[in-house]
Amino acid sequence: MSNNLRVVENATCTFCGCVCDDMILTVDDTEKRIVKAKNACVLGRAWFAEHTIEDAPAAMISGKPASVDDAVAEAARILVEARFPIIYGLSDTTCEAQRQAVAITDMVRGNIDTTTSVCHGPSGLAFQGIGESTMTLGEVKNRADLVVYWGGNPAESHPRHFTRYTVTPKGMFMPNGKKDRTVVLVDVRRTPSAPVANIFVQLKPGKDFELLWALRARVKGREIKADIEEITGVSLAVIDDLVQRMKTCRYGVLFFGMGLTMTRGRHFNSGALLALATDLNEFTHFVAKPVRGHGNVTGADNVVSWQTGYPFGVNFSRGYPRFNPGEFTTVDTLSRGDADAAMIIASDPASNFPKAAIAHLRRIPVITLDTKPTLTSSLARVAFRTSTYGINTGGTVYRMDDVPITLRKAFDSPFPDDETILRALKEKVQELLRSRMPRGAKSAFELPLSA
């Protein structure tokens, strides 16, 4: 550590969907790194400590260092020449960059999808069917006397969820914080989140829907068979106790994690939970919220929705957006072999997608934008190294409850940010498309299909 230190207050951690904006960062301007992140959790401390400036080229083409301009030109050529280019990722970058990415997809008539599709995508589908009674996190802090977590482990995935927003804070109508609340955890294993809960309900794997449906039935006063315990691992007595608590609380919350979406039942599970929260409004005020993952995955949902009308899995091949999960979502466009080029922004599908999808990614030209080398960037034709949002660049990020927050830059990076690269790419793509257009064409329908 040098003596050249500076403090940045009210900075925001963009590692997880909590998007805590109370960071007090101590920046070492000589060493170009953050030496202390006060208020950060274990994940946040690692996020700030590890994003230092590494000595690396800002762009690579086919594994060799290249100028950013050349890389932009090559990336534009790939996108314009492809028949089915896919753009994917987007949840670890700013809304400003996301807006450019959708614009590029619109121009090249490509396919855009975000990490939502492999995270709470099913919850998004459930939302489209059921709706959602929901809230910003401050309402939980101020009002919630019953907080239920289902299929999630915030102690490890969102470490400050309990302490900053939902359990321990004192709020307007919850003057004693945790003492005023009952916390319930429903999961298949006793995770490090369990000690926070007053009640831990251990459920058999893959039986979320069954238990949620039983709860709905009991909320409506219907009889259910005693074999519910055999099916779900949860007794009728426990179910009835939960139902009683949910109906009589003043302000109840159901938070849910990927324990619902990544297992058998997917959107049916999320839908059952959302329906339960809706049903409970007949008796009291009740809300629900998926505990979203990456720093700006919620921003990606918002941007893609306002620009196209649909939250993820959007295809522009007809000159207007269409939405079809299972068809235009990235695991599918890759594993089916549809995509003939891919631009991956701030994501690493090569390390967490099914292997059939990864195999296809190896067969097609790939463009990546990321702050660090990943398995995906190591197989890319064009790889940009970009600066880190919330550390080297400002911009807008949406917290898991749709609250937008403006980032504060801590120190400069020699690498350009995602938005800058994408803007340059958009301009290059536009130039290439215009050069291919017949003279006097006015409508996109007169554009030749990219080939």
Binding site: D106, W306, Y398, I405, K442, F445
Partner: protein, 549 residues
């Protein structure tokens, strides 16, 4: 750089300058109307055409958190109404809640060049500005929801009127908004904190804060008056949609005395009858009061048959409507600031209440004596889409068409109204008032809604056509800020439009008190709350009519 343009031979309707259908030559330079241009870059021959200022929508829901939730909720509605791009314009999705790009282009396609988003939570202002930046062509602004703001209610309860004034100023500056919006004032706390109940009387004291809706409304009228806001508080009264709410609506207007007040979507507040029973029409009582009180402006909130989307900060209302079909429904609580309810909806000719609502809206229009103050709106998308404005204009202008439409709807509902007896037909000048000049004046936008020298060069040129729906559906030319955007019915350019907002001065000494409240009850840091200028892009600060106190 915008063009110099000259428009010749057109029949000009510019009510603010007392021009009603005269053939005039119009000149445009540097985005403004001017008295003359030598050697214009472009001359448009508007022979056989009608020229009006660009339309101004005083009340719609087009951007921000609740609109985006409603968009995400309805993929099925987007799918049947795609919006293809052109080489000049982005693609998008239509339907009742279009994507941002489609919203801007479709407003332009109706000849509208300004639209005001009518309900934004302060914490959602940043989101709203981002969406508005992606809403092309039109100028836009938004109203900030303060009628259920807990901090402000605490100040009122404690009688701290002076601090209340400055806190409102702080909030408007922190959000870059255009005016204050009150929705079901006092109703949030019973909804969120008292098992989904509501407030039902203007003089009912809130259990928690000990103040009444009337006190809230009155305090906001005082603030707007003292500051000289270009547009007064924009009020969505209590008891929206409930039988007998005419009493609440009249009392709300009386609360203003002779001070300025805007009542939003007044049709939804013009019902006789008893709570829980079927409503009747109280259009006569409401419009008589409005006609006699020049301090009141309102927009009608006309219901149009077909698909709509209920989206409102009035969460108890949305929950009540959800009870009808028990289909998909959103409730969204915003900490310390607001509630919100959203559901897809559809108005049907044969349903008594829907037909009555449709007829009451038309009654209000047809019995209005001052078109400057009774403004065209559908409370988009609550009463129907803004895309149905051309049909609404035809209903007002074409008595025969109106008769045909009346014949299609629930007869019992029509029997409760005087609609069949109303023979009035709006003329083009009156249409120019209720869609342009009137809303611009009610908003205090002195450069909009007219075509005099110095005005913003926002111009629409329609082909004269006896089918007024067709005529107002497809202008031949649209000029925005001096730029030709639609040329011979087709987009020939894109344009980003400006954000319109106000910047009332406030005493900085209010800030520590707001900060203390934030640190206790909000979940984001106070220093990260205010929206900075980078979100404004192109913008214009609309001046106040008097100096700050």
């Amino acid at each position: 750089m915008s063009d110099t343009i000259c428009i010749i031979n057109g029949s000009v309707y510019d009510p603010a300058n007392n021009i009603a259908g005269e053939i005039r030559t119009l000149y445009v330079r540097d985005g403004r109307m001017v008295d003359a241009v030598s050697e214009p870059a472009r001359t448009l021959d508007a022979q056989g055409m009608v020229i009006m200022p660009g339309g101004v929508d005083i009340h719609c829901h087009i951007a921000g958190p609740k609109v985006n939730l409603a968009r995400k909720l309805q993929p099925e509605d987007h799918r049947r109404d795609p919006h293809p791009g052109t080489i000049f314009t982005r693609s998008g999705s239509g339907g009742v809640v279009p994507s941002t790009f489609a919203t801007g282009y479709r407003y332009a396609t109706l000849g509208y060049t300004t639209a005001m988003e009518a309900a934004v939570t302060p914490i959602g202002a940043r989101h709203t500005l981002e969406e508005l930046h992606d809403t092309p062509i039109i100028d836009k602004g938004f109203y900030i929801l303060l009628g259920n703001n807990i901090y402000l209610q605490q100040l009122l309860k404690e009688g701290r009127k002076e601090e209340f004034h400055h806190a409102v100023g702080w909030w408007i500056n922190s959000t870059k908004s255009f005016t204050t919006k009150l929705v079901n004032p006092g109703g949030d706390e019973p909804w969120k904190g008292r098992r989904n109940s509501n407030v039902s009387d203007l003089d009912e004291k809130n259990e928690v804060f000990g103040i009444t809706p009337r006190e809230i409304i009155s305090a906001f009228i005082d603030v707007a008056d003292a500051y000289g806001f270009p547009h007064p508080p924009h009020v969505h009264c209590n008891n929206l949609g409930h039988s007998g709410n005419v009493r609440t609506t009249l009392e709300t207007m009386k609360t203003a005395g002779d001070r300025r007040l805007h009542l939003a979507h007044i049709q939804f507040h013009s019902y006789s009858g008893e709570p829980g029973q079927n409503p009747g029409s109280a259009a006569r009582d409401i419009i008589d009061y409005v006609n006699a009180h020049p301090n009141i402006t309102c927009d009608v909130g006309q219901v149009m048959f077909g698909k709509s989307t209920i989206m409102t900060a009035d969460a108890p209302l949305a929950y009540m409507l959800r009870g009808i079909k028990k289909a998909k429904w959103i409730n969204a609580d915003t900490e310390c600031e607001s509630g919100c309810g959203i559901l897809p909806f559809s108005y049907q000719e044969k349903i008594y209440v829907h037909a009555l609502q449709w007829a009451i809206g038309l009654e209000l229009f047809l019995m209005s004596q001052d078109p400057w103050r009774v403004i065209l709106s559908t409370d988009h998308p609550n009463g129907g889409s803004f895309q149905s404005y051309p049909k609404l204009i035809r209903l007002l202008m074409d008595r025969e068409f109106r008769r045909q439409e009346i014949a299609k709807v629930n007869k019992r509902a029509i029997g409760k109204t005087v609609l069949p007896d109303l023979d009035r037909e709006y003329n083009l000048n009156e249409i120019a008032i209720i869609t342009r000049a009137g809303p611009a004046r009610a908003l205090g936008l002195t450069n909009k809604g007219h075509l005099g020298a110095g005005a913003d060069a926002d111009i629409t040129v329609y082909d004269e056509n006896p089918d007024r729906e067709l005529m107002f559906s497809a202008p031949r030319y649209v000029i925005k800020s001096g730029n030709l955007i639609i040329d011979n019915h087709e987009f020939c350019a894109d344009f980003s439009g400006r954000t319109l907002h106000i910047a009332p001065a406030y005493d900085e000494s209010i800030v520590p008190s707001v900060r203390t409240f934030f640190e206790s009850y909000y979940s984001i840091e106070f220093d990260n709350y205010a929206v900075d200028d980078s979100y404004l892009h192109e913008h214009e600060v609309i001046p106040l009519s008097r100096a700050a106190t």
